[in-house]
């Protein structure tokens, strides 16, 4: 049975170094998000920890290897395994990125961009539709942060993203930090991006920290607190489309569990409550 979370819930990306503290005191966190690929193997230690997590809070699954913008055949076996894990956990949803990750035998282990064109968006939408059709839980697509733009692009990033989500009739998993990072790297207005979002199709949003290189390029490192400008953008998003669930991602240079919970508490505090909307997210596979 699916364990949905409240529409204004705040969760965190749960990482192994936090297991002991999180399992001892999960208060302050409404749900966990875990990287699906880390729990698809046969290792008993990850499986046991995932069971503990799901007994405490709803667990949303987040993936990194779907390869929606890829040109290799979609790995349906992987999608089915994710689906089985989602059903086992009673996960409310699964999300992955609007990116490509592999080519033939080459594996990037990174989330890579392509030019933004109608043809490529339609290609990704067809793949996303197959993914949703294979899963029994709602499938959300996360917008990418990027460090390179392409002369071959004919759409803005938000037009491209919308065309994929609408074409596949799936959900958005909207990363506010990614919008900000890409906006700074490619010189567009992040608020124009937010205004393009159909908020009733947002599963939840991500917040994270990022790194600024000496040359000014912003890198999506998830290794720092959420910066003031991203908090401001989050507040704008909340005003435009809240309430929506929120996840704090922190993957490197990990803080203590208490500090991570503090960041989640910050999200509640900073967004205010001047929005109206449904109290619980009503999720259905499209």
């Amino acid at each position: 049975m699916s364990r949905a979370f409240a529409r204004d819930a705040v969760g965190v990306g749960l990482r192994p170094p936090h297991f002991a503290d999180a399992f001892q005191d999960p208060s302050g966190v409404d749900f966990f998000e875990v990287i699906a690929e880390n729990y698809l193997g046969t290792g008993p230690v990850p499986a046991a920890n995932l069971e503990k997590a799901r007994n405490l809070r709803p667990v949303a699954l987040h993936g990194v290897s779907l390869d929606l913008l890829g040109t290799d055949p979609l790995d349906l076996d992987h999608v089915r395994r994710v689906g089985a894990l989602a059903e086992h956990l009673g996960a409310p949803c699964f999300s992955d990125h609007l990116c490509w990750t592999r080519l033939d035998t080459w594996r990037s282990h990174d989330l890579l961009p392509t030019p933004f064109t109608e043809e490529i968006a339609d290609h990704a939408a067809r793949r996303a539709e197959i993914v949703q059709g294979t899963l029994s839980v709602p499938f959300g697509i996360e917008n990418l942060s990027s460090y390179a733009a392409f002369s071959g692009s004919t759409l803005t990033e938000w037009e491209f993203y919308r065309r994929v989500v609408d074409g596949a009739r799936v959900w958005r998993m909207l990363d506010i930090n990614n919008i900000f990072v890409s906006a700074r790297n490619h010189d567009f207005d992040p608020r124009a991006y937010l205004e393009s979002v159909d908020w009733d199709r947002v599963l939840y949003v991500h917040l994270a920290g990022h790194h600024i290189r000496p040359d000014g390029l912003r890198i999506d490192t998830h290794d720092a607190p959420v910066c003031a400008e991203v908090w401001d953008l989050y507040r704008d998003a909340w005003t435009l489309g809240g309430p929506f669930p929120t996840v704090i991602e922190w993957d490197d240079n990990l803080p203590s569990w208490a500090r991570l919970v503090e960041e989640a508490t910050s999200a509640r505090r900073r967004r205010g409550s001047d929005v109206a909307g449904p109290e619980r997210i009503a999720l259905e596979a499209a």
Partner: protein, 265 residues
């Protein structure tokens, strides 16, 4: 989608081209490696040229993988130092590019290292690191219950090695050092004290252990991998009759340390 695939091929070749490690901990990105067409496809802006933007992905590709090897092989890093480890890791990754499953990224690192390094110590450290990692991620079969033990002579069940059990030989007492590194405790520099022995690495639940064992027990355990208990025993006693008196003690020891799994015949 042919154009997209061609673009992705140019990207993959450009971002996985090797980095250079000129020494003193520095990393350089040789930009002459880039496909000229892909540089034309990426407009530079805001003072950040195309090559620097592509270079951000190239650095991420290499450092994500090198960092994983650093994490999986802390003993090798400890004895070599990261300045020496990182270029070695990069060369290994060129020889053995990553597959889908990053848990197996370092499977061939000990063997590859043995062929590269003049000293055998880094390869030995790598074997210890790998055994530890494999023991951690191996699946766990049911351990024999008291009822199972009563049925052992019936021919209905047999005893096999738990998949987590790893047997290796080493010339140093690596394991206390590895535990200290993992627990982020201060550790002395250099190699650990000499201690030539066979070792058994095993896991019960989430607890990993390493035990020095006598040579004949190591021979028996190696033979037991993929072979019924009785066959392994007959082979051992056939070659080493003096082992017969040790079997019951070994069995009890393995039972206490979680080495055995039960298999229905």
């Amino acid at each position: 989608m042919n154009a997209l695939r061609d673009f992705q091929r140019r990207w993959a070749e450009s971002t996985s081209a090797p980095l250079q490690f000129p020494g003193q901990g520095r990393t350089e990105i040789p930009e002459e490696d880039y496909d000229t067409q892909i540089l034309l496809e990426i407009p530079g802006s805001k003072g950040v040229p195309a090559a620097a933007r592509l270079g951000a992905y190239r650095l991420q590709y290499w450092f994500r993988l090198i960092t994983l090897l650093q994490k999986d092989f802390p003993l090798v890093g400890h004895i070599l130092g990261w300045e020496e480890f990182n270029p070695l890791a990069a060369r290994y990754l060129q020889a053995h590019p990553p597959a889908e499953d990053l848990d197996r990224l370092g499977d061939l690192f000990p063997t590859w290292l043995r062929a590269q390094a003049p000293s055998t110590l880094p390869a030995e450290a790598a074997r210890v690191d790998l055994a530890w990692n494999q023991a951690f991620s191996a699946r766990e079969l049911p351990a024999p219950s008291p009822v199972d033990l009563d049925r052992l002579g019936s021919g209905e069940i047999g005893i096999v090695l738990q998949p987590a059990v790893r047997i290796l030989s080493a010339t140093r007492d690596w394991f206390p050092l590895r535990i200290s590194i993992l627990q982020e405790q201060p550790v002395p520099g250099g190699s650990p004290r000499p201690l030539r022995s066979a070792w058994v690495v095993s896991r019960t639940g989430s607890v990993l252990r390493a035990e020095p064992v006598e040579p004949l027990l190591a021979v028996f355990l190696r033979d037991l991998r993929g072979r019924p208990w009785i066959d392994a025993l007959e082979r051992l006693v056939g070659k080493h009759p003096e082992a017969a008196g040790s079997i019951s003690g070994w069995f009890a020891r393995g039972l206490a340390l979680g080495w055995w799994a039960v298999e229905t015949c």
